[in-house]
């Protein structure tokens, strides 16, 4: 860990005056002159401890007032401040009652200790866990190098990696909570140093490496997430979330899925199906959505939707198991909504 200075931000404006880089940019460019944000610090300090990120200054945004509220309104929906901890989300009864899949995803994320510290803003903006990306000894494309070590058909250790949209970087996004948020059509509220506010849907928040290898989301240096908002659920909406891991106590997702459906009777009118740990960013499966929409939610149709989702999968040498695993959990999650 290098020596860096510490700045305690008093307000959003104050924080945005200080910062000059995102973590992604600095990991790509290695200027060693970066000033970056830290909220819970879980992700950013991992990078600093590994020596991959050597910031000049860290701006602590954790204590900025006003970013730590959860509010729910039957008509307006849900707002979660970016500094709200995962534990606060996990124990919020209104989230449990109205956004079950989100409640399930948050409860299955990380460990109780880390949920007490991690913030939602940090969680969705964290970086992928590809062990080559996180290794100081592997200069991969995300870090400005010219190789993807994980992709290699003979030597790539890619059992945890992407099976969809894996033509560029093959990492998978680390936030399993984002899988659920995207399924609920959440949006991210972002403020920039000019004081301008923009609302970006989760579908547009994440950036595929095929588009830009140096970014995992659209955030630029002078921007800060202030809240995550979710539309009010319709009366007939139901949801489910399933995550598969190697270890139940604590682990990164091998495959996770969030399903939000609007039903009339047994028929699915609208479906929102998002896969986590399938692609470099949370992946909305239009294939599965189309396959189940306007169909009765039953075993056959759930299987058909799961198969449709996996029809486009292109597994790497060591992650072929993810296809049957996803097929199974997509089917189960759809059926759990009935």
């Amino acid at each position: 860990m290098n020596k860096f200075s510490w700045y305690e931000a008093k307000s959003v404006e104050d924080a945005l005056q200080q910062v000059n880089s995102t973590v992604s940019e600095e990991l790509y460019q290695h200027t060693n002159k970066a000033t970056v944000f830290k909220s819970g610090g879980i992700d950013v300090f991992d990078w600093v401890k590994e020596g991959l990120l050597q910031p000049e200054k860290i701006v602590n945004i954790r204590n900025i007032p006003g970013l730590d509220k959860i509010s729910y309104d039957q008509k307006k929906g849900l707002s979660i401040g970016s500094n709200v901890t995962l534990e606060e989300i996990a124990s919020n009864p209104e989230i449990k009652n109205n956004y079950l899949a989100l409640h399930q995803a948050v409860n299955h994320a990380s460990t109780p200790q880390l949920r007490n510290i991690s913030t939602l803003g940090g969680n969705i903006a964290q970086h992928n866990r590809c062990w080559y990306f996180r290794s100081v000894d592997h200069q991969c494309r995300r870090k400005g190098g010219d190789r993807c070590f994980a992709r290699h058909s003979e030597t790539g250790e890619n059992e945890n990696h992407a099976i969809i949209d894996n033509s560029s970087c093959v990492s998978v996004h680390a936030s399993s909570i984002s899988t659920a948020l995207m399924a609920f059509n959440a949006s991210v509220v972002i403020i920039n140093s000019e004081g301008e506010k923009k609302i970006v849907s989760m579908d547009d928040f994440f950036v595929s490496p095929a588009k830009d290898i140096g970014m995992e989301n659209i955030l630029t240096a002078k921007e800060l997430i202030t809240e995550i908002i979710l539309p009010a659920p319709s009366k007939n909406s139901r949801s489910a979330y399933i995550k598969e891991v190697a270890r139940e106590s604590y682990d990164w997702s091998l495959a996770d899925v969030a399903v939000v459906v609007e039903v009339s009777g047994n028929t699915c009118r609208k479906a929102s199906i998002v896969l986590g740990a399938a692609a470099p960013v949370p992946y909305r499966s239009l294939e599965a959505q189309q396959a189940i929409e306007n169909k009765i939610i039953n075993n056959d149709n759930a299987v058909a939707a799961a198969k449709a989702a996996m029809a486009i999968a292109k597994p790497l040498a060591k992650n072929g198991y993810k296809v049957p695993m996803f097929t199974s959990i997509i089917e189960q999650a759809i059926l759990q909504t009935t």
Partner: protein, 781 residues
């Protein structure tokens, strides 16, 4: 030698307990009856340092703080195979706060020319190259980052099977002089024979070499199982990493270290620095786990000493988790071919074993003796090869070799039973001659309810249950170099001293129990001062030797000290000392109940301030199988596993393990259960989770942390029930043995057999992951 004849309890209570007469040296203490009739031994005694440990009061090596102490960090290679052309330390040297830099250099023997170059050849990523001592760990790390090592890189090989190919990069182009790190009692593999990267084969153990005629054996067989099994590289992951604090005073080198062998570390340091053993003192009060990897001073020990010498200050050097994974030992991988033949009635006719394993740049990747000795079979041969690769060296790991060997053997026996249409448990009754494992099978099967077991793969539904069993054997090893001093002070205090360390299993507590039982006192009355080489030499904590080696001399020394004390009391009471006893802290008389004196009062009768008696381990009663300390009998176990397998997601959960074990006379039930729990948990982890993942194109381990190197947490740990079978064999004054290694041998095999029973498809490789389950079920295209 004067001897006496004594009758000892012999056999298994509730099964075949009887008596045996043995002729033993006259000075040995009287026979202990079975545990039921003892007060402290065999009971559930809380470990004496439990509070210190759970409150954080216990001081471990990394807690040491000495005046003027510097913090050190090692410099390590970040390439897998290279010649070092130069190392530039100029920037590091000038960093404020840096006090000493030491680089590891080739040192030819006196009179010999150095033909190897200045620095040793780099053979794996993480190889120690040097170290820095500075005023803080942060400065030391900064200094390491400022050192520039220039390499001339060479081709390397990581994958074992690639290393076996003709034309593979050669890891050692010079003869290997090192020997396998087998802990206290591992076999020594010969590194001098072999070709390319392959060394061996080893074809014999201390149980002998090949027997019978394999060809004839397989010709007689009606049924044959022939399979290849694979196991992964498994690192040790002790919670406390390796490390040392060296305080090199003018006339004494003080070494505080996390070690399972204080005596060996002392000897190594004395030899490396050409000091008399008397001028090196090694201390280890508390230890946070070793599992076989902490028998030596390593490279960090001499490094800290060199830095202490250069700086003139005490030096603290603890490794971090990454260094631990890369360079401080691992359980080697294995690829085992096994062919077993049997007649239709189940009688074994032949066992053939051929294994390859890699311990990286080390030797010792065999699969142990278990296939040779667990079942009686007239025809047997093994060939065990070591394959050298550019990876960190292996080290002894809780039952070296035998855990890998059990994974193969116990699955093959299961498969054989199925071919013979026999229940795997009753088949073992047929081929296993061990009386204690017979009892373990009976008691284990009853507690586990083995009768629930259904035919393989017959379960309905997505999540299928499976039950399996695995067995193990481990020799009873005794280290004769095991001595203890007992002091009775004239204020009533009693002290135990030995260099033997408590690896964390509760050695301190059992020593207190043995002395308390002998002296008629309570455990809290005994102060145990061990883990210090200034005290009489004790065994290393390896091979499960400690209990069997150190408790008999502990009892004997306490008995001698008691005799001396009772002589003083007898003199005062003008009676025969043979009539006196101590019970519940009181000296009493066999016939004259009026005569009573507290233990403390008795100690005031001494003319000097203390009674001090030292005793050493002698031969077992009735002798050894082999004079160096291979005792008769074994430490057998039978473990039962219940698993659930989700056939859609491949997720495996171990629901329950019933572990039936024997260790002679059990000394402390709670501590034995605790060791069994630990062994089982590591076995579950070996079967399902842990795996060193290395990139073959760069030679780096990609999961050298605790995030991606998967060890089990609370939810991965099954319900564990232990059965401890008392087995008296009348071999020493305590008749007790250890259980550390036995607890870990059979678990992975039992789980693999249970997985087969659940899904009806056998998995021949660990770790068993969702991927391997789904592949086995043909669900991965």
């Amino acid at each position: 030698m004067n001897t006496k004849k004594e009758k000892f309890p012999y056999g298994i209570p509730g099964h075949n307990l009887g008596e045996i007469e043995r002729e033993i040296p006259i000075e040995e203490p009287p026979v202990w009856p079975v545990n039921d009739k003892l007060k402290v031994i065999g009971k559930r005694v809380t470990r004496i340092d439990a509070l210190d440990k759970v409150t954080g009061k216990a001081k471990y090596t990394s807690d040491m703080k000495l005046p003027g102490m510097l913090y050190a960090k090692m410099l390590r290679s970040n390439v897998p195979h290279a010649v070092i052309t130069s190392i530039d330390i100029s920037k590091a040297k000038n960093l404020t706060g840096v006090h000493a830099i030491h680089l590891i250099e080739n040192s030819p023997k006196e009179g010999e020319e150095n033909t190897k170059g200045k620095y040793p050849m780099v053979k794996y990523v993480g190889q120690p190259l040097g170290g820095v001592a500075a005023e803080s760990l942060e400065i030391a790390k900064d200094a390491i980052a400022l050192i520039k090592v220039n390499y001339e890189e060479k081709p390397f090989v990581i994958d074992m099977e690639a290393a076996m190919e003709i034309g593979a990069p050669i890891v050692f182009d010079e003869p290997i002089t090192q020997q396998e790190d087998g802990g206290d009692v591992g076999e020594v593999h010969d590194g001098s024979k072999g070709q390319g990267n392959v060394r061996g084969p080893s074809t014999s153990s201390f149980f002998g070499g090949p027997r019978g005629d394999l060809e004839k054996g397989f010709a007689e067989a009606d049924v044959v199982v022939e399979r290849t099994y694979r196991t992964q590289v498994h690192t040790h992951m002790p919670l406390e990493t390796h490390g040392v604090v060296v305080d090199w005073k003018p006339d004494l080198m003080m070494v505080y270290t996390s070690t399972q062998n204080t005596n060996n570390v002392r000897n190594e340091m004395a030899s490396i620095f050409n000091l008399p053993k008397s001028k090196v003192r090694v201390v280890c009060d508390f230890m946070g786990g070793g599992f076989g990897a902490k028998h030596s001073a390593g490279s960090f020990g001499p490094m800290a000493a060199n830095l202490a010498k250069k700086s003139g200050r005490p030096v603290w050097l603890m490794l971090d988790r990454q260094e631990e994974h890369l360079a401080e030992g691992n359980r080697p991988s294995s690829k085992q071919y096994l062919k077993i033949g049997a007649k239709n009635d189940g009688t074994l006719t032949g066992i053939q074993q051929r294994s390859h394993g890699t311990a990286g740049v080390g030797l010792g990747a065999g699969v142990g003796r278990i296939a040779q000795i667990l079942y009686s079979c007239p025809n047997f041969a093994t060939e065990q090869y070591d394959v050298l690769t550019n990876a960190g060296p292996g080290a002894a790991w809780r039952a070296p070799g035998n855990v890998q060997g059990a994974f193969g053997l116990e699955q093959a026996i299961d498969e054989l039973a199925e071919k013979l249409k026999m229940d795997p448990l009753s088949y073992r009754d047929h081929i296993d001659k061990s009386e204690v494992r017979k009892v373990e099978r009976q008691r284990g099967a009853a507690l586990f309810d083995w009768s629930r077991r259904q035919p393989a793969g017959s379960g309905k539904g997505v999540v299928k249950k499976g039950l399996g069993v695995g067995q193990s054997t481990w020799p009873r090893f005794v280290t004769l170099d095991s001595s203890v001093e007992i002091k009775i002070h004239n204020d009533g205090g009693v002290e135990v001293r030995s260099s033997v360390q408590d690896i964390g299993t509760g050695t301190k507590t059992i020593l207190a129990q043995v002395v308390a039982e002998e002296l008629g006192l309570q455990v809290k009355d005994i102060k145990v001062n061990i883990g210090d080489t200034f005290f009489p030499v004790g065994p290393g904590s390896g091979g499960s030797v400690v209990t069997g080696s150190i408790t008999p001399p502990t009892r004997n020394a306490a008995f001698e000290a008691k005799k001396e004390l009772l002589n003083l009391v007898a003199k005062k009471w003008e009676t025969d000392a043979a009539e006196l006893f101590i019970s519940d802290g009181q000296v009493g008389h066999n016939t004259d109940t009026e005569l009573k004196m507290s233990f403390k009062e008795a100690t005031k009768l001494m003319r000097t301030s203390q009674i001090s008696k030292t005793a050493s381990r002698s031969d077992d009663y009735g002798g050894f199988q082999q004079p160096w300390g291979l005792a008769y009998g074994d430490l057998g176990s039978v473990q039962f596993a219940e698993v659930s397998v989700n056939t859609n997601t491949g997720f495996v959960k171990v629901d329950k393990i019933v572990a039936a074990h024997s260790c002679g006379r059990p000394l402390n039930i709670g501590q034995l259960e605790s060791q069994i729990n630990g062994g089982v948990i590591q076995g579950v982890s070996y079967a399902l989770y842990e795996n060193r993942v290395m990139d073959k194109s760069t030679g780096h381990m990609v999961n050298a942390n605790v995030d991606q190197y998967k060890v089990p947490f609370s939810m991965e740990i099954p319900e564990i029930e232990s059965i401890i079978v008392e087995e008296y064999s009348a071999r020493s004054s305590t008749d007790a043995y250890g259980i550390g290694e036995p607890a870990n041998i059979a678990t992975a095999a039992a789980i693999a057999n249970a997985v087969y029973n659940a899904i009806g498809v056998r998995i021949y490789e660990i770790p068993i992951t969702p991927s391997s389950i789904l592949k086995a079920l043909n669900k991965v295209s």
